[in-house]
């Protein structure tokens, strides 16, 4: 979906965070191969750094940037820095099949724990649950207390309809799941109870997940259904309404975010075209609902535009606001 679109799966946010973290760590570690070649290629190195900056700061990642990165990757496929930035780019593009191909090109013996987890998450995203199970089962059997392996295996069994097996692997690491407040795992455990018609345990588990995230529509939706089945129409309606409200709120914030992105691009285009009055109008429109981290740049745009228009007084006022933000 578009740049503002919501995550498509319970786990995508988690996956993305993990990959960015890996990128950050790996990029500072020593590359194993191709390092000297890349170090000597100043142009490629500079481009890689620029692209890494875009990815690490969560900016939109233009197709032209990806094509540029692809050329570097094709030239230095064994350089760990390049590989990590490339993998991060694939995640940013939500190109799950390409991520799978990317990880599978790494010989199995050389795949790290992170590679295995990411591959498992790709299978989860693509709905290939048997492959997820095949990948995770030996890992979870070996590392019985590894929360990530066990939880991923639990998800695999859950989505393929094998409730008892799913429950087993979530329960293996339940204490950690609860202490780490893993809301997706807790919610899925609640769904397993629901599928097994164990409504008291399902209600208890969903309530636990709602304590962590009150906006969890998966939990409110099924709670509503449980109460309807149990002939408790008031409670069913309460949670039905709550589910609808959560969705409504989500849609509104998505729509707003989409509008903001569009305004940002209009602003950048106006700046490029030296339409300074337009830049000022657009920046002021964005400011009230802008993220704190974006506000300094917006004041900078305003100040520079006033300066270009010869209005030093307004330019100074904008710079003053900028200074306030910095403090």
């Amino acid at each position: 979906m578009s740049e503002t679109f919501r995550v498509n799966h319970l786990l995508i946010k988690y996956f993305f965070v993990l990959t960015c973290f890996l990128l950050f760590v790996s990029c500072q570690s020593d590359a194993k191969q191709d390092v000297s070649l890349l170090a000597a290629d100043k142009q490629a190195l500079a481009e890689l750094t620029r692209i890494n900056q875009i990815l690490a700061t969560g900016q939109p990642f233009a197709p032209a940037d990806f094509e540029s990165l692809k050329k570097i990757y094709e030239k230095y496929p064994d350089d760990s820095k390049v590989r990590n930035v490339y993998q991060s780019a694939l995640v940013k593009r939500e190109d799950w099949v390409s991520i799978e191909n990317f990880i599978n090109r790494i010989p199995a013996a050389e795949q790290t724990r992170a590679d295995q987890l990411n591959l498992g998450k790709v299978y989860l995203k693509l709905g290939r649950f048997q492959e997820l199970i095949d990948l995770m089962k030996p890992l979870a059997e070996t590392a019985k207390t590894d929360t990530d392996f066990n939880a991923l295996l639990g998800f695999g069994y859950f989505y393929s309809g094998q409730n008892d097996e799913a429950a087993k692997y979530f329960d293996n690491v339940w204490e950690t799941i609860v202490s780490e407040k893993r809301v997706d795992e807790i919610t899925t455990r609640g769904m397993i109870y629901f599928r097994q018609n164990n409504f008291p345990k399902a209600i208890e588990t969903f309530k636990k997940s709602l304590e962590i995230n009150p906006q969890n529509s998966a939990a409110t939706n099924i709670l509503s259904r449980i109460y309807a089945i149990e002939n408790n129409p008031e409670k069913a309606e309460e949670f039905r309404r709550k589910t609808a409200e959560i969705h409504q709120k989500g849609e509104e914030s998505e729509a707003k975010a989409m509008q903001r992105v569009s305004l940002y691009y209009d602003l950048q285009n106006a700046w490029k075209d030296k339409k300074y009055s337009e830049v000022i109008i657009l920046a002021n429109r964005i400011l009230p609902e802008a993220d704190e981290k974006n506000k300094p740049a917006l004041y900078q745009y305003i100040a520079e535009s006033y300066k270009a228009l010869g209005n030093t007084e307004e330019a100074a006022a904008a710079l003053k606001e900028l200074e306030k933000l910095k403090k």
């Binding site: 995203k125 529509s217 039905r240």
Partner: protein, 565 residues
């Protein structure tokens, strides 16, 4: 050297994926037959650089026997250009008349099929009981048209029918008998409040893309009540629709709770889907959320585009399937207990491959005449530049065919089910019908900005069949809403005549039964909509039958002669 290795490794991975899919072998086969069919329709969306939302929606098509010769004819809706009432020649709707052998002739002009506004969907049904199937066309501008079939041509009777244009974006529509009074009422699904002046630009990685409806307000659907003579009254408020505006794209109508009246399922784009249960008096209540058919299993609203019903698992209760956005599954809402649904796309074998496509039209149909319904899905992305943002997702996509394995599971057989499924298209509308009268079901897709596709069923080893064309007396003439229960050996199969399904489209109103190896239907009970049931025994396989309510079977050969009105 490194580059060679990289490419080789990449190929290996792709091949592995293909091998995995190709394990799903089948006898079912659909062959590309567009060129020899005589159908040369090409949808015209007038896609612009501004990437206006209507331009990517595509359009629908309808199968119906407009000249009563027993052969399924087809109407294709084209779109045109937004803001322009009169269509250019290349953007006109088309009517193709079938000779019963799958050879079609363009008779658009002869039948005076009109084309106005920016076309979207189509519904068919006999609104005045005169034996001729009438047509309703929906329009992005809300200037929908009701066309009366005189037996020789269509007359635009919108103005005198009481159906008024209101400027709101209409998508799918369906005729059905709301209160079982013997005439066809009309449900019109509507989308969002939109005009190009308020279009919100959308981007993916700095690239301008076609938007989703997220930024636009929803519109409530319309329900038009027929007085039996083709005069319609707006009863949307009385029926309870106006309080629940939503972003509707598709419509399924059938007796979900088997209480003898017609219920309505609306697939909404990025909002909860609706299941309107009919109390038999024309009052509707949305129970989708409480019944478990509103959201994905994880409680998410999805980008829903198409819908169909079938008792795919043979438990006697109708299940609901809904097509959704890329990365979302094609929902299979299995009705395990009356009005209690469980979303089971992953566990029945539809989930994984459905996530790979952006899905629109959908149809349950028995592709191999084995008595259970298989599932066909029309695919195509909405971002015409998606290839710039992904190495694995494309704008044009292959359609998907799932074979019902008979044990409540499906298998994706697309890659081994014939040439028709091997080419990528931007598919939208989808219908199924026995176009060539050979006793198996074929299909047609309408494709955004591309020629339509006609695919003929050439499955070598298939079961026997029996096809029924029903016409009501007390029940509505088109028999929409009628349920048929066939006892074949130790198997019981039920089918319903649905006034709407798929995306912006309607499939054949005739009922097709696959009998497997059986030579006859032992007993067929017809639950005429709003009328008395009728039971027929020992119906011989391999024939097409016409049944007027309460009378005996009359075999016919499609396209041979006009059936007396």
């Amino acid at each position: 050297m490194l580059l060679v290795c990289l490419n080789a490794c990449r190929s290996e991975n792709v091949n592995n994926a293909d091998t995995q899919d190709n394990q799903n072998r089948t006898e079912i086969s659909f062959l590309e037959a567009t060129a020899k069919s005589g159908i040369n329709f090409k949808h015209e969306p007038t896609r612009t650089e501004a990437k206006l939302l209507p331009e990517i929606m595509g359009s629908g098509l309808a199968i119906a026997d407009f000249n009563r010769d027993g052969a399924p004819d087809v109407i294709f809706v084209s779109s045109g250009a937004t803001g322009i009432k009169d269509r250019a020649e290349n953007a006109k709707n088309r009517l193709y008349i079938n000779n019963g052998k799958g050879n079609f002739t363009d008779q658009t002009a002869k039948w005076n099929l009109t084309s106005t506004g920016y076309g979207q969907g189509v519904a068919v049904g006999d609104i005045n009981g005169d034996g001729w199937i009438d047509v309703f066309l929906t329009d992005y501008h809300g200037d929908n048209r009701l066309l009366k079939n005189t037996g020789e041509k269509f007359e635009d009777i919108t103005a005198r029918s009481g159906i008024k244009p209101d400027g709101e974006w209409a998508t799918s529509a369906g005729f059905f008998d709301l209160e079982n009074d013997g005439d066809l009422d009309l449900y019109v699904v509507r989308y969002v409040v939109y005009s190009k002046e308020i279009q919100q630009k959308a981007f993916r990685n700095k690239l301008l893309i076609y938007p989703t409806p997220i930024s636009y307000k929803p519109v409530s659907d319309k329900l038009w009540q027929n007085d039996g003579r083709g005069n319609f009254t707006d009863i949307s408020e009385k029926a309870g629709l106006t309080k629940s505006p939503s972003k509707g794209l598709a419509l399924g109508i059938g007796d979900i709770d088997l209480d003898g009246d017609q219920d309505i399922y609306v697939a909404n784009d990025t909002e909860a889907n609706q299941l309107w249960i009919n109390d038999g008096k024309g009052n509707l209540k949305d129970i989708a959320q409480l019944s478990g058919s509103a959201y994905s299993e994880t409680g998410r609203e999805e980008g829903s585009m198409g819908v169909d019903f079938s008792d795919f698992d043979g438990n006697g209760l109708l299940d609901i399937t809904v097509t959704n956005y890329q990365d979302e599954t094609t929902n299979i809402f299995a009705q395990k207990e009356p009005l209690l649904f469980y979303e089971m796309s992953d566990s029945v074998g539809v989930g994984a491959t459905s996530r790979r496509s952006l899905k629109f039209g959908i149809d349950f149909f028995d592709a191999d005449n084995d008595g259970d319904e298989d599932l066909l899905v029309a695919n195509g992305h909405i971002e015409d530049n998606i290839e710039q943002n992904s190495d694995s997702v494309t704008f044009a996509q292959n359609d998907t065919l799932y074979e019902n394995l008979g044990n409540g599971k499906f298998s994706d057989i697309s890659k081994s089910a014939g040439s028709a499924l091997q080419e990528k298209r931007v598919s939208r509308g989808l219908v199924t019908a026995d176009l060539d009268g050979d006793g198996d079901l074929d299909y047609i897709t309408s494709n955004n900005g591309e020629p339509a596709q006609i695919a003929v069923n050439e499955t070598a080893e298939k079961g026997n069949f029996a096809v029924f064309w029903l016409e009501g007396e007390k029940a509505n003439r088109s028999a929409i809403g009628t349920r048929l229960v066939a006892k074949i050996g130790d198997k019981t199969i039920q089918r319903q005549i649905m006034g709407a399904q798929s995306y912006l489209s309607v499939s054949d109103l005739r009922v097709h039964f696959g009998l497997g190896q059986h030579e006859k239907i032992d007993e067929l009970t017809i639950y005429w909509a709003g009328s008395e049931p009728q039971t027929l025994k020992d119906i011989q396989a391999g024939k097409f039958y016409y049944i007027r309510e309460g009378r005996e079977l009359m075999p016919f050969i499609p396209g041979e002669k006009q059936i007396a009105n």
